[in-house]
Every structure is written in C-alpha cells, then in structure tokens.
Symmetry: C2
Subunit: 350 residues, 2 copies
C-alpha cells in the first residue's frame, strides 16, 4: 500500500435519494416541488446574456442577497447565499461548531448533520425525540457546543412552535443555534423574526422546495451580521465564486412572483391534506405534516416491503433503514395525478 493513502480524510458520505434517469417514474422520493418554477424564471432564462458567462459572477452575491433581505425585512448584511441549503449548512458547521463540547441535534433529524460532524471532526450527541417525534426543550438545557435542528423536521414532517424555539434559545445564549427551515413555507411558523432578539440564532432556508428550484442550487442563511460575516470569511477561504451568474439572475426572479408562490403552496398543502385521508383509508398512520411530504407507517405491512413494491411499479418514495424510523415511508406530496398513481399501486399491494 502506498503511504499517500494514510493522509486521506476517510469519511462515510451522505447518500442522497435516487435520481432515476428513466422516464415515467412517479418521483416522490426527494421532496421536490411537482410544479415548475415561477414563469418569470423562464423569461429570465430567455433574456440571459450567454456572452456574460465569460466573466466571473459577483462573489458577494449582492443583488440576490439584497432581494432576500427585502423579502424577509432584513438587511443585506444579515443574509448569506450558498449552493443550496446543504452548502450553507456545511459552511455553518465549519464556521460555528469548533468547540470540544458536543453539539446537539435530535436523534431523528436530517441525516446529513452527523455526516458534517464527522467530516469536520465535531463531537455530537443526539437527544431522543419523544414517542410522537417531538422535541423536549429540556434536552437542550445542558452544556453544549452548538445546536441544530430542522423545523419542520425531516424526515418526520413534524413542526415545533416558536415557543419551543424561544425556550431553547433562552437556555442557550452562549452557543450558535441553527434552525434549518428547508420546509417552513408549507405551513410552519418561521423563526426569522427572532433574529432581532437573539444574536446567536441562524435560520437557514432554500429555493429547492417551495420555490421549485432544486436543480439550480440556492440556499441562504439569515442571522445577525457577526454570524453572517464569519460565514462569509469561511466561504471566501474556500471558494469565492460559488454562485454562478445564471443562478443569481433567476433567484431574484423567483422571489418576485408572490402570487405564483402562494398558489403553488396552496395546491401542495391541499393535496397533502387529501393524501393524509387517502393514506389513512389504506391503513396508514400519518404524522401531522407542515412540510411537502408525509411520514407514514402502515398498521400491518413493513415499510421496506411497501417501498420495494412501489419502486418495482415506478413509484419512488423514500425509506430510511435507520433506528426508530425503519417502519416509516417518507412520501413527497406530488401532483394530484401522481398521488392517484400512488394510491392505485397501494391498492394493488397485498
């Protein structure tokens, strides 16, 4: 064996949901939005100046960050933009979680958290959610090196109220607390207003779900200026030009059309509530969801078996072979038509 291998950083990577290349798949496995981006995005693409691609993009992502700041009633210096919320969260882990005391996140939460902790060699502990997959704020009163949790939680879809977040913040003024709000637009209450009160709160959101733009990679963090500046310094120590010209242009466009955005959300929420009933009819218990997906468990059949059955019939949902949740399916809310196909195949399952 060559000794150069000794100095390789060995890691167990995150495994994203499958992206099938074959046509005709009903894809309910990666929580994408079933509807296209706002019409303005198409117009921005048509007007895009290809020749400008020879020039570097704006490393400060100023126009997009300012558009986000206006949207959320913040200032430019309160917003950090990255290549999807994964890039933003990875940067936040590297920037803020440098204590020898373990960081805390729920035992059932976004499975990338432990991957980032391993990559950056950050110690961590995972307080258990209760039997209904709810957080107990008292689990976060102990000494720690930082806190992160998704709200609504992924993959459970459960949303915690702002009171709980405030309680956790009140007991943690000396570490950075990150609320990962990838799914907040589907009915949860955002922690963004708390940024004015808590200088150690970072809220992370994304264009990948509610804005139908997973394919273009835009995520963002909001927080007080010192947090954002520290993230910018780390970003500028890693890659100055992360956001390409095309993404910066169409990101601004996507923010403009509030009516399209709200109509899109209303359709998904309506389909979601309908889906709860349809799944319950078919023997599932479904957690109360404030996201664009459902987390469902069947009364008699093992989730892994249903998952494989559906996959053979070109209906892709997600199954996590992990403690506590291996008997659940995570089902993205698709179009009404896609959901009908799902119900049909579930009816075929013996």
């Amino acid at each position: 064996m060559n000794t150069w291998k000794n100095n390789i950083r060995m890691v167990v990577p995150y495994v994203p949901g499958e992206q099938p290349k074959k046509a005709g798949v009903v894809k309910l496995n990666t929580n994408e939005n079933p509807y296209p981006p706002a019409p303005g995005v198409k117009a921005a693409l048509e007007n895009f100046n290809t020749d400008s691609l020879r020039l570097y993009p704006d490393p400060d992502t100023k126009d997009l960050a300012e558009a986000l700041a206006v949207y959320y009633e913040l200032k430019y210096e309160n917003v950090f933009v990255g290549v999807g919320s994964d890039d933003v969260l990875a940067t936040a882990f590297m920037t803020f979680f440098n204590s020898k005391t373990p960081i805390l996140f729920p035992d059932v939460s976004y499975s990338f958290y432990s991957v980032w902790a391993e990559l950056f060699r950050i110690p961590y502990e995972r307080p258990a959610l209760d039997s209904e997959f709810k957080m107990n704020p008292k689990d976060y009163y102990r000494e720690n090196g930082g806190i992160i949790f998704p709200n609504p939680n992924a993959p459970t879809s459960v949303c915690e109220p702002l009171d709980l977040i405030r309680d956790i913040l009140d007991h943690n003024r000396d570490v950075v607390v990150i609320v990962d709000e990838a799914y907040i637009d589907f009915g949860g209450e955002s922690a963004v207003p708390l940024i004015q009160e808590y200088d150690n709160l970072l809220v992370v959101q994304t264009f990948s779900k509610s804005r139908s733009m997973a394919g273009i990679r835009i995520g963002y963090a909001m927080g007080n200026r010192e947090l954002i500046d520290a993230m910018k310094n780390v970003k500028f120590s890693f890659n100055s030009y992360t956001m390409n010209r095309f993404a910066l242009d169409i990101g601004i466009e996507a923010l403009k059309d509030k009516q399209y955005f709200e109509d899109n959300l209303a359709k998904i929420i309506s389909t979601r509530e309908e889906a709860v009933k349809e799944l319950e009819k078919r023997g599932f218990t479904v957690l109360e969801s404030k996201a664009n997906f459902l987390f469902a468990q069947h009364s008699t059949h093992y989730a892994g078996d249903i998952f494989r059955f559906l996959k053979e019939r070109n209906v892709y949902v997600r199954h996590f072979n992990l403690p506590r949740i291996d008997n659940y399916l995570r089902i993205t809310v698709g179009t009404e038509e896609q959901m009908k196909k799902l119900y049909e195949e579930l009816d075929n399952y013996k």
Copy 2:
C-alpha cells in the same frame, strides 16, 4: 462579549480581483477570456427546459464527467467535477492534506493555497522560486505532507516542463502531488498523460479561462480512481448537489466545439505575443508567458503607481502587494482593442 464567538473559526479570507459593476471598464484584472463561450453554449441555453429546474441535478455529474473523460482519454472514474477549480482544489486540500508534516508550495504561487491551508489547519512551507521565478525540483525532495503548484504559475505566467514535474513525482511517491493547470491550454504541456504512471498525481483544470466560462463555475480534477473516489466521498459529505442542471448541460456543449476552442486560444496567444513587444517598447520587462496573462515590471516606475493610474482611467489590471512581486503588474490578455486602450493609457503615464 458573548461566548458563542469563541468557537467561530476565525480566518483571513482570500480576496478575489475586483468585479466592477460600472460599464466601460477595460477589465484585465481577473484573467477572464475576452471572447464569448462557444456558440453551442448559447444554443443549449435556448433549448434549456426551465421546468426541469424543479428537480435536483445529477449528484454524480455523470454526463459531464464522461464527456471530460472522453476528451482527455481517461475513464469516468478518473474525473471529479466541482464548482470551479477553487472548489475542486479546496476539496482536494481537505481530502489529501491531513499529515502533520508540512505541505509544500512555491513562495510565489496562487495566493489561495495558504488560505486553504489556514482554513483546514494544514501546516505548510513555501520553498522560494529562483530569481527568474522558476522552481528548483530539489526543494521538493525533502519529507512533506503533500505538494501543490500551479503550472503555468499564477501570478507569474511561467510554465515548467514535464521533466521537472516528473522529477518531483519520482522523489515523492508517498504523498499526493497536485498540479494546478488552470492556464495550461494557453501553451503549456499538460501533466495529464502522467496520470497513467503516477497514482499519486492529481491534475486540476477549469472552464473559467480557456473556455470562456468563469461565470458558470466548472472545474475538474483528474487522477487515479482512488484519489477521485476519496474526493467524491468528501464532496458527498459536504454537499451532494454542487453542480446545477444548467452548468452540467452547457459544460458538455462547451467541450464539443474544438475548432472554436482552438481559434479562441490562437487569437489570445497572438495578442499575448504582440503585447509582450508593446510592453517592452514602453520600458517593461515581461516574463515568458504560457498563460492568458502577462507578468510585467517597469524599468523605472513602481507597479503600484501604474496600477492606480490605470485604474483611474478605467483600465483594471492586478497588483499584488506581496513580497518579491509588489513591483509587478499582472495583465490579462484581452481583445486587441482592449490592449490598445492599455497601451494608450501607458503612453499617457508620465
């Protein structure tokens, strides 16, 4: 002071060249290509399916990596694709440079190297280039934790022959050696063929310079499968979906048009050789360049003064206030028209 600040990773970030927003600037400061991307890129943009943006991109970047593999006579598993060569190099630093022994790179080289080393807390040493800014291979015979150098070098434009790279590799079989070939297409000899012989060699290139696509962010690394797999694991531990759908599409298009590519290079090389003469006429000494920029020193005037004079007249070049090179200007090779404007302003300089 709040104690959460104690655990922030404090870093001194890289400062990229200025990206002026005002019109009319002759921009010769960030080594962009003065000509637009291949015509196929514009066509790909026009045919791009906006609706597909709702779906995640291919996390494996398979089609683009395969197109690159075909182009360089390698295999898919020998190619890693990232968000510009900075992203690729940062990932390589994190993946390969985990020894307690210092890594080595020349005292005058890409200034991002020391920034990455500081970010990831990698010890480093910087052997001095000789008085003509050439590398002495013997400086790299000593024990080390890895080696990286740009070839052609940035910001000097000096290109080393393959014999020197082979010599360094022969004396370093136990560490990863990275050759950063951002500017190789402008006349240097690439180390890519050595990948078959040296399993510890990683070669990094980019679409930002020779392919006129700095604005879209595509870089790539080539090396033996074990190196590439290790980088992929780190990437999948940081952000699965770094390359957006648009970049993946047009990257493939840009590779197709070899004639456009070669014509573009020929124009720049011709303008470069002309520029050497014009600068020499005006009292500059110019290093022999195999890049799309020149590194020039005036016989009587201080580089910083010329830099500021030119900037006031809307001609942007680059000046590094760093040891050994503070009396040099780095001048990107622009169009003939842009270069004429440069010569005119130099003639106005008293």
